[in-house]
């Protein structure tokens, strides 16, 4: 794990989809070091807050020294971050944690619920660069909250919305149809991940074929506060920050997993 407190500067701010902010940050060492699925602890200066906020990098472009973060406003910290714009400094600690394991030849289905999509632009790009066949499944409440398909260039994108305003009406998990010998990468609210786990069990897909990017409350991000516990299948707890955030689904006790996702 390479960690450093690095100076970073916001170079672009945009609204990639309804209810979300995207910050593009210039930080060449971070852009070069981060692997798909890893996260940064971002210092925020909102009044009366003290802890850093964990954000997965949405993508990185090492050649230009840039990386992106896509997030929504859920509290004082993200509200502060949401009004950063071009020229503002950010204090990033990271990259931290384990990203997705990209090493395999099998086709990959990436499945995202809500703001869980924020981790996937870079993941999909890295998979495509490895020559892997990728299908992107994205679910949201409504069409306006979908990250546009052009963010997943050169891959098949299918969408589901709760209100049926675009694509399949219903859960994104229902878009899974063909399960033969492939990998699944998932990120989204705990209930969505739990229904994904149930669906794959029904279809005899080994849980080890699924990798999930976990979201739990987090304190330090480096393994010292022990605050980001996620229930381990064999009892006890994993730490989201050190053992994850990306873990194989068979390592988690999904019945004990709390719904703390803020997407």
């Amino acid at each position: 794990m390479s960690t450093a407190v690095v100076p970073a500067v916001v170079v672009e701010r945009s609204i990639p989809m309804a209810g979300a902010i995207e910050l593009v940050v210039y930080d060449p060492p971070a852009a070069a070091a981060v692997k798909p699925g890893q996260f940064f602890q971002v210092a925020v200066s909102a009044p009366h807050t003290i802890l850093r906020r964990p954000y997965s990098a949405a993508w990185s472009d090492p050649a230009r020294g840039r990386l992106g973060f896509i997030f929504n406003v859920v509290g004082a910290g993200s509200a502060w971050l949401a009004v950063r714009h071009e020229g503002h400094d950010l204090d990033l600690l990271g990259p931290l944690g384990r990203g997705f394991d990209l090493e395999s030849e099998r086709p990959v289905i990436c499945i995202a619920g809500g703001l869980g999509v924020a981790v996937f632009p870079g993941v999909v790009q890295a998979l495509v660069a490895r020559g892997r066949e990728v299908t992107m499944l994205q679910g949201a409440r409504t069409a306006a909250q979908l990250l546009p398909a052009d963010r997943f260039a050169a891959v098949d994108v299918q969408v589901a919305t709760d209100d049926g305003s675009q694509g399949h009406r219903g859960s994104v998990v229902e878009l899974l149809t063909d399960f033969t010998s492939l990998d699944i990468f998932a990120c989204g609210p705990t209930p969505m991940l739990q229904s994904l786990v149930k669906a794959t069990r029904r279809m005899d897909i080994p849980l080890a074929a699924i990798q999930v990017a976990l979201e739990t409350p987090m304190g330090c991000g480096v393994g010292t506060c022990l605050g980001c516990a996620a229930p381990r299948r064999e009892g006890g707890y994993l730490l989201t920050c050190q053992d994850g955030p990306c873990v194989r689904a068979d390592r988690i006790d999904w019945d004990r997993m709390l719904d703390t996702f803020h997407g």
Partner: protein, 310 residues
């Protein structure tokens, strides 16, 4: 250019630290998780609370941010004393910083067993007793009742010659009485204070944010409370007091040193600024130079021998 001020500190029983700035239990793991921190700049590392047997810890949620603070109810997740002795201590023995093992338990026998196992193991410089644990026999925390706290301290004192610190809980009626009791029972220093009991409620879900309901509050929110506790204690005991509670900056640390603490521990700030201990150390050095002080001894703004309690 003036001579560099002497920031070394004597915490009793021959333990001399190169800096008065330590890292607090539970905020630095066992010293292995923050590779970007220059360990050599620390006065000492106080480890995660260690128990006789491994503990899984509480179910999530374990932490919650509150105004200028955070609540935690980790539940003493730790690998147990045997792992600490066999796996961690040999590595500590190669480090250029003293490691103090924080010890927790739910009976006097537990504490005695943990410390007997670690006493004399290379790499362990001393112990800090976490007495905020409930006693299995009567359910009371050792730290809330001066008699229990003294009994525990005395029992542990009998099995180790290493430096023995007792970390006081502030959730008591009279912290000075507990401080006096553990001093009399043989403690070499007092760490003050542990977290303040508190809670937060999720109004949308209508339940406590922490799974256990309540937790311990740390961070800047508790600094004035902790400072006052240190001020009270330092005037009433002769052993060194190590100030803890929401310290982020050199000025925060200096407040504790002026109040009578001999050293300080940084806690929650380690989560946010891993280099905070070094910054605080350097800031104290700058202050001493500005004040024309050669060392830390002249800092306390009153001394027990001069001032009696009101």
């Amino acid at each position: 250019m003036a001579e560099s001020p002497d920031l070394t500190v004597d915490l009793g029983r021959g333990l001399r630290l190169r800096s008065p700035v330590l890292v607090a239990s539970g905020t630095f793991g066992y010293g292995f998780d923050a590779p970007q921190v220059d360990r050599a700049a620390l006065g000492a590392i106080v480890t995660k609370g260690t128990t006789l047997r491994p503990q899984e810890g509480n179910s999530p949620n374990r932490i919650a941010e509150t105004p200028s603070g955070m609540l935690n109810a980790i539940g003493l997740q730790n690998p147990g004393v045997d792992h600490v002795a066999r796996v961690y201590a040999p590595v500590w023995a190669t480090w250029d910083v003293p490691v103090i093992v924080n010890v927790a338990g739910d009976s006097v026998d537990d504490y005695v067993a943990v410390i007997s196992r670690l006493d004399g193991v290379a790499g362990i410089a001393g112990f800090e007793l976490n007495i905020s644990c409930p006693n299995v026999i009567n359910g009371l925390q050792f730290g809330v009742e001066p008699g229990l706290a003294s009994e525990l301290t005395g029992a542990v004192r009998a099995v180790t010659r290493l430096p023995l610190w007792v970390k006081l809980t502030p959730n008591v009626t009279d912290i000075v009485a507990v401080a006096r009791g553990v001093e009399a029972a043989g403690a070499d220093a007092l760490s003050a204070v542990n977290t303040y009991a508190g809670m937060a409620i999720d109004v949308r879900q209508r339940r406590p944010v922490l799974s256990r309901g309540n937790g311990g509050l740390s961070g800047p929110a508790i600094k004035p409370l902790a400072l006052y506790a240190v001020w009270q204690i330092a005037n009433e005991v002769r052993i060194p007091v190590i100030g803890i509670g929401g310290i982020r900056t050199p000025a925060d640390a200096l407040e504790f040193l002026l109040a009578g603490a001999s050293a300080v521990q940084l806690g929650t700030v380690n989560y946010i600024r891993p280099q905070a201990a070094r910054e605080v150390h350097e800031g104290i050095a700058v202050y001493l130079r500005e004040q024309g002080l050669r060392d830390l001894r002249g800092l306390p703004i009153r001394s027990p021998s001069v001032l009696t309690h009101a």
